[in-house]
């Protein structure tokens, strides 16, 4: 049970160590009507995800402290976050990386550079499904 809905808006965790990209995603998702929890590294992302239990997590793969794969794996391993949808952002577009992300338990992945609009659409697709 997520604590999101004080005002009924879904809560989305956005973790990326690049300030500009993080701000870009936050802007786009807030415009689309989501409440956004920003994080600048994997450890913070995991902590926020565990404490606030967002409806969805957008995780960059290459982050300091914990990378996106590891955060995903740990989220899957914890009872309370095991079913949280995860979208991975990857600058690498190799099949092996994609496979690794899906293996770690990600629901979707988006290759960088991505279109903010497309990211919004993917988030909506996953949250709409539930």
């Amino acid at each position: 049970v997520s604590e999101l809905a004080k005002d009924g808006r879904p809560l989305v965790l956005v973790a990326d160590d690049d300030d500009d990209i993080r701000a870009l995603i936050v802007f786009r998702l807030e415009r689309a009507g989501y409440e956004v929890l920003p994080a600048a590294d994997g450890e913070t992302a995991l902590q926020l995800a565990t404490e606030r239990r967002p409806d969805l997590a957008v995780l960059d793969v290459m982050m300091p402290k914990l990378d996106g794969y590891e955060v995903t794996q740990r989220l899957r391993a914890q009872e309370e976050t095991s079913r949280m949808p995860v979208i991975l952002l990857t600058a690498r577009a190799q099949e092996a990386d994609v496979a690794r992300g899906l293996e770690a338990g990600a629901d979707d992945y988006i290759k960088k550079p991505f279109s903010p609009q497309e990211l919004g659409a993917r988030v909506q697709a996953i949250l709409g499904r539930r």
Binding site: I21, L24, R31, A91, Q94, P113, F114, S115, P116
Partner: protein
């Protein structure tokens, strides 16, 4: 010629011949030893060649190394050959010595025969006594002649003995020498082999480390270049979408230029990473069932605005679906590259035509333009990386010289064929054949092993 001396001489000659024969035997034995050594060395070269084939699978650097190893073991084989040549020379010297020995024995026999011609020997059948008569009226007394004969035949016998002894010694020396040479060659080769094995192991480790470094480098360059581009394109999109307020016509026009150039930069990063992957020997295909017709349609849509802006007619004959097992992303890159070249090298008012067909388990497509064509002197180098045709540089047509080399690499990775035809001033046609079914992994492995 039935005198005891004659018999002794004959006997001595026989014995020395036998000994010479045994020396020859030893020589032949030594040859065999050397031959076996050579066979072993050749087997080692074959092993190295097998190692080279295995190395081919590990990538180009390792192939270069195996070649180096092959050269090294050939050098060691050459060394062995020269060792054998030296040995052959030693043996031929020995046989010359033996024939000198032979000559001595022969000479003494001839001398004896000449001396004997001057006498007549008679044997008394009853007493067994031997009488010697000199045939001519010489002053030489019979007794001294007999004594001389005895001395000569004793000398001959001594010579024979010596010759026999020498031959025996020589045969022994030859055998020992052959053994030593064989042993020495064996040791030299064993040391070589051991050193080679050590070096291969060491270099393999180094190459693996380099490989990892390169992988890390490619990954971090990919990240470092794509991250700022993600921001540039992302924020541009926000502004152009009007998320940050209304955009004037002129502002939009300028921002579209920024966008176009960001896209160009992104493509360049992609091309450079592609080349880095090729260099690392890791062009990984994401194989899936795709429709080449759909891929071509996508590329046509992408290039259409540019073609229209340059007043170039784009003609495509839709031919139904073209199912193919391949890497859809790479195939799109291939079609993009061929189409954008065709449009870039066709002057306004020209035409670019795309045709496709399916036949005998292959799909074919061609991109024909009515452009400036390719100069004959540029044709051989067209698929070289960073090569730019003289027509491109003269007309300041943008490009890195990577497009066609990448197109070729993609076609090769799909086991297809890429060819072209060009008439200067009339146009160029690029033709691609791709197998409908991509080769399976086992087939690829087989081909690599062959």
């Amino acid at each position: 010629m039935t005198s005891p001396e004659g018999r002794r001489i004959a006997l001595a000659s026989t014995i020395s011949s036998l000994l010479i024969a045994s020396a020859l035997g030893a020589t032949i034995w030594s040859f065999e030893q050397a031959g076996q050594q050579r066979a072993r060395a050749e087997a080692a070269v074959r092993d190295t060649q097998r190692a080279q084939r295995a190395a081919t699978l590990l990538g180009r650097e390792r192939e270069t190394m195996a070649e180096y190893l092959l050269v090294r073991s050939r050098a060691s084989l050459r060394e062995l050959s020269s060792l054998q040549r030296a040995f052959d020379q030693a043996l031929s010297k020995l046989s010359v010595d033996s024939s000198q020995e032979d000559q001595l024995v022969k000479e003494s026999a001839v001398a004896n025969a000449r001396l004997l011609e001057q006498f007549r020997m008679t044997t008394n059948g009853r007493t067994g006594a031997v009488a010697v008569e000199r045939l001519d009226a010489s002053e030489v007394p019979v007794a001294s002649a007999v004594a001389a004969l005895g001395a000569v035949s004793e000398a001959a016998a001594r010579k024979s003995d010596r010759a026999a002894g020498n031959a025996r010694t020589r045969a022994l020396v030859a055998a020992i020498l052959a053994g030593l040479i064989a042993l020495g060659a064996g040791l030299v080769f064993a040391r070589y082999a051991l050193r080679l094995v050590r070096r291969v192991t060491h270099q393999n480790e180094e190459l693996q480390q380099l490989d990892q470094l390169k992988d890390g480098f490619v990954a971090s360059v990919s990240h470092e270049l794509r991250t700022p581009l993600t921001s540039i394109r992302g924020y541009l999109e926000l502004v152009l979408d009007g998320e940050a307020g209304e955009v004037s016509v002129e502002q939009e026009q300028f921002l579209r230029i920024v966008e176009r150039n960001a896209d160009r930069l992104l493509r360049l990063v992609g091309d450079l990473l592609f080349v880095a992957q090729l260099d690392a020997g890791r062009l990984e295909l994401e194989l899936s069932q795709s429709d080449l017709a759909e891929i071509i349609e996508g590329s046509l849509q992408g290039i259409r605005p540019f073609a229209e802006a340059n007043k170039i007619e784009l003609v495509a004959d839709p031919n139904g679906s073209l199912p193919i097992s391949g890497d859809a992303g790479r195939l799109a890159q291939l079609v993009d590259n061929l189409l954008s070249n065709a449009v870039k090298f066709t002057p306004p008012g020209g035409r670019v035509r795309v045709a496709t067909r399916e036949q005998d388990g292959s799909v074919y497509f061609e991109v024909a333009d009515s452009g400036i064509g390719i100069a004959p002197e540029d044709r051989d180098r067209l698929f070289e990386r960073f090569f730019r045709a003289s027509s491109a540089t003269e007309r300041a047509i943008q490009g890195t010289g990577l497009g066609l080399s990448i197109a070729k690499a993609i076609v090769d990775a799909h086991y297809g064929e890429l060819s072209f035809e060009s008439v200067e001033g009339k146009g160029t046609t690029f033709r691609v054949r791709l197998p409908s079914a991509a080769p399976t992994a086992s087939l690829v492995a087989q081909e690599a092993a062959a």
